[in-house]
């Protein structure tokens, strides 16, 4: 600490104290100081003030459904929906068996086929053979367009470092034909389960890479999304963490989780969703799925993928992509 002379100290104290009292009776209008009353008069006159009925109209039109030409598939009585394969062909194979055994009439994938795991090309024949109806995730969008990164939406440099590693690996190991196929996938689908119409997207109805976490997707927000989309339910993925909220309107919003890596809960199993038609509600089951995660870890080692990823597969705890977690989800996280 540099030593200060008594005069320096007095000067500094004077400056500090004048800063603390500088605004007495005055308002800051930009960099100007003006009498408080002058600022208040200016703000009272600024902006617009609609009548009560005009405000009601504004709010109502804000919530109004936006046109969506997406055709509606179905009706079904039971479907399986999963997301985030992340090259995990072991989990995908296990899922196809499990979903059929549980009576799913159709199987939907919400995108993000690549990243994280090994041998990207292996999931393609499984999707084809299982007649999986797939939509585009940010991974497919980026790979098909030849972009340099996955557009996952990370901000932290460490998260981006690992995202670049896994995107680079996937991009190098995907055939041009597979990338073309990805580019032709739709960005959303609509399905009918019983009487209910459900919207299927990757991140959110607004953005392919928007994160819908449980602790940051409040009920009023979800109600408006469903109203604007004229849907009885919404299914999404992208965050990696599964959850289900039933809204006061009776609508359902489900993040189906991912089958590519565990849900950051210390368990090796992954998650997908079964929805079915029940008499008075939509049946929603988030299904825990075991698979040969040791074989996956072994193949990841052979492919020289980062140890951090392999550790996640084996331990069930995330070691990367932690910065995106909201406070509640981060508090429940090991790292």
């Amino acid at each position: 600490m540099p030593s200060r002379s008594p005069k320096d100290q007095r000067d500094r104290q004077r400056r500090e104290s004048s800063k603390l009292t500088a605004h007495r009776g005055l308002a800051t209008w930009g960099e100007k100081l003006v009498p408080l009353a002058e600022f208040r008069r200016a703000t009272a006159a600024a902006g617009r003030a609609l009548s009560a009925s005009e405000r009601e109209l504004e709010v109502a039109s804000w919530r109004e459904p936006r046109p969506d030409p997406t055709p509606v598939e179905g009706p079904f009585s039971r479907v399986a929906v999963f997301g985030g394969v992340y090259n995990n062909h072991y989990a995908l194979a296990a899922l196809l068996d499990d979903a059929r055994a549980r009576g799913a009439e159709a199987i939907y994938c919400l995108g993000d086929l690549g990243g994280f795991g090994p041998s990207p090309e292996k999931v393609w024949p499984l999707l084809e053979r299982g007649s999986v109806r797939t939509i585009q995730g940010n991974y497919e969008e980026s790979l098909a367009a030849g972009l340099e990164d996955c557009n996952c939406g990370y901000t932290d440099p460490r998260d981006n470092h690992f995202a670049e590693l896994s995107y680079g690996y996937t991009a190098r190991n995907c055939s041009p034909q597979f990338k073309l196929w990805m580019g032709e996938l739709p960005k959303r689908r609509r399905i009918r389960v019983g009487e209910r119409e459900l919207l299927l997207v990757h991140g959110s109805p607004r953005r392919i890479n928007e994160f819908l976490f449980h602790s940051t997707s409040p009920v009023p927000f979800l109600e408006v999304l469903l109203a604007q989309e004229r849907a009885d339910g919404l299914l999404c993925t992208h965050t990696g963490l599964p959850w289900h909220r039933r809204l006061e309107s009776g609508g359902d919003v489900i993040n189906v989780g991912v089958i590519g890596r565990p849900a950051n809960d210390g368990r090796a199993e992954v998650c997908y969703c079964l929805v079915d038609d029940r008499e008075d509600e939509l049946g929603v089951e988030l299904v825990g799925l075991g698979y040969d995660h040791h074989a996956l870890a072994e193949e990841m080692r052979r492919e020289a993928l980062p140890n951090e990823f392999i550790e996640t597969v084996l331990s069930g705890w995330w070691t990367t992509c932690l910065e995106i977690l909201p406070a509640k989800e981060r508090a429940a996280s090991r790292f």
């Binding site: 308002a27 800051t28 960099e31 009272a44």
Partner: protein, 299 residues
Amino acid sequence: MVETTRSSPPAENLAAPVVELGSLDTLWFQVAGTVCNLACTHCFVSSSPTNHTHENLSLAEIVPYLEEGSRLGVREYYFTGGEPFLNPEMEAILAKTLELGPATVLTNGLLLDPVRCERLAALAAASDYSLDLRVSMDGYDAESNDPIRGEGTFERILAGIGNLHRAGLNPVITVTEVHDANASREGRVRFFRLLTELGIDKPRLKILPIFRMGAEAERGGAYESWQRLRQGDAPAGDWSHLQCSACRMVTDQGVWVCPILVNEPEGKMGESLADTLEPYPLEHPACWTCHVYGVSCRT
């Protein structure tokens, strides 16, 4: 000298672009007005103990905005000032807000005593939604922090962060680029180390650029005349990367376009949220900062 011909009017004659409100995701409250127990030399709203340009918002004033925000599908609520915990109703406001959605408080950390931190942790635990505390610092040591935030503040901020941590809350440390070193690789490492030494094993850090306005205009200099947005600055006129395409700010005097422009009457858009769903012209030089630095005040 080569003669050039202009195919378009001089840049200064072009009208400012306008930003559409695509969705109302983030609702801000200037909950403590511009009143603060500090007078930081880089504060873009010049908050100080005597700055009453905006006053506290009471719970009763906030509730109608929470209700209106819910109907418009607000996703998250942010509280700033001034110093939010100078507002005597701050915790009651948070309790009410956390019934509706996630909340974040931007604080200088000085009023985070152990008892308050325990109460905040209880509020966080009782809600389905996330509660985040963002604590501001402007240097990783007293020598760099205190000239900006005030004598002795570094130690007091660390004490507040420690109290949050012991109560089970993990704050996001918010640092401005007031010193170049803050945002550097080494700077980040120093901040992370500081937090780790306090026992925080999951350090969280957000770095924000400086807005050259308010007190900062005097400290670091004001905007230059060329620092303005023009039509064509964003590809295809898409301004959806700006926070004002998805936020509004409530103060005791109405609803503003964003948290940055509250000391500009032109930043005010209306009295209720429904008045403010219109596009807004990006005329202020601060809009340039948000665009060029890709800033969002959200965490």
